[in-house]
């Protein structure tokens, strides 16, 4: 039962983290290079610009869901299972999100990488 709860936590963490990543990436893409922005207008203005973005805050809300789900999972399972499993499955979900929602060029090489990552996750989960 504990294993089932762990995997439910992993799936919730992955879904919420991927949604969070896509929203945050979209917000940061629209805002532009923070280094240049803080150089031109100051660090305070750059931070304010990020924190006033609704898209960024939506991403943070999803990240908060992922955080608590991850915390819950950590109370049942080892970090060496939870950490890599959630991180690499999130990588797969992110590749799909980046392709369909952010218009990034997710080419054959990036999909090959995804297969490596998924194989890695299966090995981690079986041990």
């Amino acid at each position: 039962m504990r294993l089932l709860y762990t995997w439910i936590c992993i799936l919730i963490t992955v879904g919420a983290a991927a949604a969070g990543d896509v929203f945050i990436a979209l917000a940061m893409r629209r805002i532009g290079d923070l280094g240049e922005l803080s150089h031109m207008k100051g660090v305070g203005a750059a931070i304010l610009r990020v924190l006033s973005s609704g898209t960024f805050l939506s991403g943070i809300a999803f990240m908060a869901i992922a955080f608590f789900s991850n915390l819950m999972g950590l109370s049942w399972a080892d970090l060496s299972l939870m950490g890599p499993a959630t991180a690499s499955l999130t990588f797969l979900a992110n590749a799909l999100g980046a392709k369909f929602f952010l218009g990034e060029d997710v080419d054959r090489r990036r999909w090959l990488a995804t297969i490596f990552v998924c194989a890695g996750v299966i090995l981690i989960a079986r041990s």
Partner: protein
Amino acid sequence: MTLRKYLVILSVVIFSPAGDAFLARGMKQVGAIDVHHLLHLIAAVANPWIILGIASLMAGMASYATALSFADLTYVLPATAFGYVNMVLIAHFWLGEHISLVRWAGIVLIVMGVGVVARGPSRTGETGVAVAASSAQEEGE
């Protein structure tokens, strides 16, 4: 990619796994949380290790957001993948978790996967075409 940009990515690799390790240490002190007492999860946030973990994750998050301001999501994630290796090393040497050979093999595969993907332009997509072209030019120099 300038030195500043590499340092931003390095910060993600250091702070994020350290944050996870602090959280794991904290949750081991708190103990397993019963599904019928989910509010205990809120109480866990008062644990000093959890607080340290949250602070470290916030530093990692700030670096991560900064990285996303100049590079693709599918570039930043692989580039910061060595954080997973750090995390397993911390889990093994500091938290005393047993890492089996099969689990190590899994980690190696993940790192190989992200290594494959990292060798491309840092920015693509609708607003990133020009940046992708310029970073490809940078690589050629």
